[in-house]
Symmetry: C2
Subunit: 414 residues, 2 copies
């Protein structure tokens, strides 16, 4: 990490809201305990050791988080593009504001409700990467646009563009729009080439809309194992989109935004001509799914970013040979694979297939065994859906809880 | 259903809190709109058609829910045992109060935080089926016991029993306790026979504790396919626990509670000698995992209970051959298998492997196809973890939203 964020920097970045939950050492006028008493409910744990937290709970290592932000920003800046991190990963306004304060041009959200929450918490540059198709959601989006100048909405059909234009006119705004282009996965977006170009031209002519460019998220390439193969696949999948962006530009259309990419391709995407920024999400936390894909310098482990997110859990039962039961099951970890990794230990596996309980199984060479009441930390399988299970995130420095961040976007799937 | 719950019955059952969110047709003094304006935020949707709800959202068919409650209660009453439904399934105080009002002797919870929430919402008979092992959680449990006479705590080691007794004395209470007995899965509980008997005897002598009996939850039998095999397995797995209960009784120990069983074995568990009640959960909602296990009268489909719980979702993209994309992915459905079932349709599959999007794939004989903006309902895969993703549950009668129930226990995994 070349320039770790100072605490002062953090306080500035996270804004007054977050600063008020930062519980420092006793300062004149107030003891730490008195300051904690002033904090709203649910934030009372700041200042204590993480090992004293009730479990299961979600922790982020602040040194690692800051290192990950720095690594991402340094790399994309060097490569001549920007970062526009996806807030669907963390759903946490404090982290969104840290990202913007350390150089990101804005954030992405997956849902209108997520965008609303981020705006309520002071985030003003928001790209909603999903189309809104129901009249009610379209109205919500245009109402947000009325107050949030930096709100940009994705669109992928002509009919939807017309509906959006009408709703914008009704709300008294001209709405900023990007065309969502399909990278070949056929999940969302319009087909690149003539269809996308025609849609961009339509958006450009509709009275309620202002074309800002396009987005093309190639989810299928992000977890390809091996850097060379991942690079080959990502560049190939984005060729048609890049050609479309070029044709848009030559047609005089705005291509100020050409957003795509993710944590797996953040150091590849600048090679796609015209791409302006990466919608990286998981890099802030990392997870077991990304650790195994391998990186440019490390074929075995994707070590560009450090695992910062853990679920803290307590052993409830040690009565049976070769195993132990903990209090973190599927409702604390999801059932994504690979299963969570026990941080700092070897020779044991952890499964969370049961709703309420996790199971540790020891191999012959287990680095340790656990007794009832012992706590351990799990590196989660896939960070996005795990974060979505928790209302708060404990920001930890060493063993001490320094901040308690509300996950205000938790459950905002609408 | 022999005696469907009347609306009057419902209002009585769900108590004043739930009654205040019930939005009837216009009544003298207030229009429906005026009543809705008086309702707290998030409950504004009562009275509208479910098809107008923003998606993804969670709906329960009230007729089916009431039918399921009735079927369960009628059956266990006929079999001479009681129901003590597990609230970890619904996490919804309104449903817990309905269960108690229609004959259940109390509810179970999996976590102390769930128990606290249920007590806050007027539920007074609570069996916490999981041990608390950390000093802080033990204190929380004893504080709850101080105010909640009907709170009973599970214990499965002598050390834990002593800690609990000390904490009870400190809180100035005598805590009601059941011994948790392992049915053979080795996940939680003490080994049946001598170890369990000794623990029960210890509990009986400790000054801060009052023995109330035992529990033995045989999760492994619940989803065994085929009624005959399920019955054989469930009865075999509980033999040792039943023998332990008998020895406890002959030793003069209290066996007033011998709780176990679940939705898959609700009409089998009364055959286990001494069993007093079933900890049934999923029967209120049903799900795709239970539908396939087959029942006593229907070998193909477990039709004892009706699928009442659905996720409502909207089609976002129909541009690609043979498929469509909706707005309900893993954050709305989890990734449990079998995948969700599209309610009322045939010849199509639904997968929710993506965090934010669901994918419909049509077979040749698909009963219909969807256009952008169309809404559809999904029967969820496994109800417990899906409910845990949502803050509210729309109670629907026909197509009309009649109540909006807060899922107050959502995220209460601590």
């Amino acid at each position: 990490m070349t320039h770790p964020l100072s605490r002062r920097h953090f306080l500035h970045a996270a804004g007054a809201g977050a600063a008020s939950v930062w519980i420092p050492k006793p300062v004149k006028g107030y003891s730490a305990a008195e300051m904690r008493r002033q904090a709203p409910g649910g934030r009372l744990e700041a200042g204590i050791s993480k090992w004293d937290l009730d479990t299961p709970c979600l922790c982020v290592d602040l040194d690692r988080l800051e290192g990950n932000l720095d690594r991402m920003q340094t790399t994309v800046t060097r490569n001549g593009i920007a970062s526009r991190p996806h807030a669907k990963t963390h759903k946490c306004p404090a982290i969104a504001r840290l990202q913007i304060a350390t150089g990101s041009v804005g954030i992405c959200t997956a849902k209108i409700s997520e965008a609303e929450v981020m705006f309520e918490h002071g985030v003003e540059q928001i790209l909603l990467t999903t189309v809104n198709v129901s009249p009610r959601k379209i109205r919500r989006a245009m109402y947000l646009r009325k107050w949030c100048d930096g709100f940009v909405q994705a669109v992928d059909t002509a009919a939807n563009a017309r509906e959006l234009s009408d709703a914008a006119a009704e709300a008294g705004v001209v709405a900023d729009v990007t065309v969502d282009v399909d990278p070949g996965g056929h999940r969302t977006g319009i087909t690149p080439g003539a269809p996308a170009l025609e849609l961009a031209q339509l958006v450009d002519t509709l009275p309620g809309l202002r074309l800002r460019g396009m987005l093309c998220y190639d989810g299928g390439s992000q977890h390809v194992t091996g850097f060379a193969e991942r690079r080959r696949r990502a560049l190939a999948n984005l060729e048609a989109a890049a050609d479309t962006a070029d044709r848009m530009k030559r047609s005089g259309l705005d291509t100020g935004i050409f957003s795509g990419g993710g944590t797996g391709t953040y150091n590849i995407d600048h090679e796609t001509p015209g791409m302006t920024d990466v919608q990286v999400g998981s890099y802030v936390f990392m997870d077991a799914q990304y650790l195994v894909i391998g990186g440019e310098d490390d074929e075995e482990v994707y070590s560009d970013f450090a695992p910062a997110l853990t679920v803290l859990t307590t052993v409830l039962n040690d009565q049976y040979e070769g195993r132990a039961t903990t209090d973190a099951g599927a409702k604390a970890n999801t059932i994504n694979r690979p299963w969570p990794i026990v941080a700092g230990e070897t020779g044991m596996s952890y499964t969370s297939g049961s709703d309420e309980f996790g199971t540790i199984r020891y191999e012959e060479n287990a680095s340790r065994t656990y007794r009832v009441g012992d706590k351990l930390e799990l590196i989660v399988s896939h960070c996005d859906p795990v974060v979505n299970l928790y209302d708060q995130l404990y920001g930890v420095r060493g063993d001490r809880v320094d901040v308690v961040w509300p996950i205000a976007g938790r459950g905002m799937s609408i």
